[in-house]
């Protein structure tokens, strides 16, 4: 049973090794390592990492689709080029932070959505930096 708290109960997937019913132990058993933990791969700063659910299609060209799970690290500094979660009109909004002609702006990754010039939209706060997106591949399992 995987836990939602990444740092507490990692989900362990066996990497190698086989159990033999009787007789000789598997020669691979000596090489078993601890196992792979997806949390370890996806989360560098557990205490400042949050999960958000994506709604909308404005980030399609960045590979982020409606319904995807977003991993957001609040401890990272928002630099141009990164995809960020901004607080806009009391809602979390997903955009790419871009430097354009010397000025910062928030761009969608979908030509149907116009960019937002930061100096024109008053109070915008960058809440965190999106570091991974988790996207299920169709119906399975």
């Amino acid at each position: 049973m995987g836990s939602l708290r990444p740092e507490r109960q990692p989900l362990r997937l066996p990497l190698a090794g086989a159990s033999v019913a009787a007789g000789f132990p598997s020669p691979a058993d000596d090489y078993i390592e601890v196992g792979l933990d997806l949390n370890e791969l996806l989360i560098r700063h557990p205490s400042s990492t949050f999960f958000l659910r994506v709604s909308g299609d404005s980030m399609l060209d960045a590979g982020i689709q409606h319904g995807d799970l977003l991993v957001v690290d609040r401890s990272l500094e928002a630099r141009p080029g990164l995809i960020v979660v901004a607080v806009l009109d009391g809602a979390f909004t997903l955009k790419r932070l871009v430097r354009h002609r010397g000025r910062l702006r928030l761009e969608a990754a979908n030509s149907a959505y116009p960019p937002l010039e930061l100096h024109q939209c008053g109070d915008v706060q960058i809440w965190g930096v999106a570091i991974h997106v988790i996207h299920p591949l169709g119906r399975h399992g």
Binding site: F51, L69, L70, R74
Partner: protein, 425 residues
């Protein structure tokens, strides 16, 4: 140079957690209500500035809150518990020792630099926590725990300190002790403060300087330590690992009085379920169960009763505990009584590994292992999909007496179904 002690705590912790995970609440006045949506227990700084009082019953100020557009929330312990762990683990790397003192405060020990104060260190830590978690914190620094607590108070009360105050770096802490009423000194209870006041001891400076013999006669070694701490001598060590609990209790007031035995059974059952879950999380088993129930002490005909039983074999299996506890309920129940509160107390706790298997044990080892796996599975499902996902029949479905939490926010950090939305639009 001696180490410094810091007292680090979050401002308006519950309200701040609500704001941290809900962007619609940023910059808006927010209050959080106690259990059963009773009283205001936390106010965001915006709500504080509006003059909303702490501890006021919600029904008394509901219209005032509505008029000011204050957002009202029920206590969301899943969120606060998770944010508390995040807070504590983000402090840890910056100190040598950390004692988690409550859900929103911790004592820390760190080396004091020879040539500078710790205000810069504290400001940096404060902005880091603000940035990484969205939580405002205050930091008081001093040579002892009692003084660190006092410094933290100064850091919060005086806005020009901006949430940070190093009392240990001041040439003479006397003025700050002088302005602290004796009741506000950490460790001074109501009895001791009344005793102090009768002797004309009104503030922390006077307590620090009074004859220690007199204080020892009144409060013993506790009083002496308190005085030494006020003098800047550290004698209360940090406690890093909390001692294993010797008992655990789950009790609640009902949102409305209970007068049938069925409802009382359901209430007791749901507290047993909760207590058993707590035991398993603490890696413990219980040897004795006590169940209690009472009517309201403010209503005529006050009635209170408790009953207790010893388990043949210490256990943390919900089914075993339920069976034992529910057998006690008929002894507590009285017809025509309106019960206001009930609870379950588990005592004689022992570590799981220590279980002595004796000859009369009702379960075989194999059977027991299967029961343990089942409990783990249930706890896992409830953690994952929300408490109450797997219910015990004895608890009843959506009972009328259950805790009222009508304005509960989502479990935004602990449940996949409750995650905040990132709009891509």
């Amino acid at each position: 140079m001696a180490d410094a002690i810091a007292l680090i705590d979050a401002n308006n912790f519950y309200a701040s957690c609500e704001q941290a995970l809900d962007p619609a609440l940023l910059g808006r006045p927010v209050v959080v209500l106690s259990n059963n949506d009773g009283c205001v227990v936390s106010r965001s700084s915006e709500a504080r500035q509006l003059g909303i009082a702490m501890g006021k019953p919600y029904f008394q100020i509901a219209s005032q809150l509505a008029r000011h557009g204050v957002v009202v929330r029920s206590s969301n312990y899943a969120l606060y518990g998770d944010m508390s762990q995040r807070l504590m683990s983000s402090l840890e790397p910056y100190v040598t020792e950390l004692e988690v003192y409550s859900i929103d405060e911790a004592f820390a020990r760190l080396p004091r630099p020879r040539h500078s104060d710790l205000n810069r260190w504290a400001s940096a830590l404060r902005s880091r926590v603000r940035h990484n978690l969205g939580l405002p914190i205050a930091i008081g620094l001093a040579p002892s725990k009692v003084l660190a607590k006092l410094a933290n108070h100064v850091a919060k009360a005086d806005s020009h300190h901006a949430g940070v105050f190093d009392l240990g770096a001041t040439a003479d802490p006397t003025p700050w002790l002088e302005q602290t009423p004796v009741e506000e000194v950490w460790g001074v209870g109501r009895q001791l403060s009344r005793w102090c006041r009768l002797r004309g001891i009104a503030n922390a400076r006077q307590l620090r300087d009074m004859a220690s013999g007199e204080l020892r006669a009144k409060a013993g070694v506790v009083g002496v330590r308190l005085q030494l701490e006020l003098q800047g001598l550290s004698c209360l060590p940090l406690e890093e690992a909390p001692a294993a609990k010797r008992e655990t209790c789950v009790s609640r007031s009902f949102s409305q009085p209970i007068s049938t035995e069925t409802e009382l059974r359901q209430a007791v059952a749901s507290y047993v379920v909760r207590a058993a879950e707590k035991l398993r999380r603490q890696g413990q088993r219980t040897g004795r169960i006590t169940v209690f129930a009472r009517t309201s002490p403010f209503a005529p005909g006050f009635y209170s009763q408790a009953a207790s039983t010893v388990l043949p074999l210490a256990s943390n299996d919900t089914a075993v505990l339920l069976q034992a506890a529910l057998r006690l309920v008929p002894g507590l129940f009285r017809p025509h009584k309106r019960f206001a509160k009930a609870g379950v107390l588990l005592q004689e706790l022992q570590p799981e590994q220590q279980l002595q298997h004796h000859l009369l044990a009702p379960l075989t080892l194999e059977h027991q292992a299967r029961r343990e796996a089942l409990m783990q599975r249930i706890d896992g499902l409830n953690r994952r999909y929300g408490r109450g996902c797997v219910q015990w029949g004895a608890c009843g479905l959506e009972p009328a007496w259950a805790m009222r939490r009508e304005r509960l926010s989502r479990a935004a950090t602990t449940r996949f179904s409750d995650l905040p939305t990132a709009w891509a639009r």
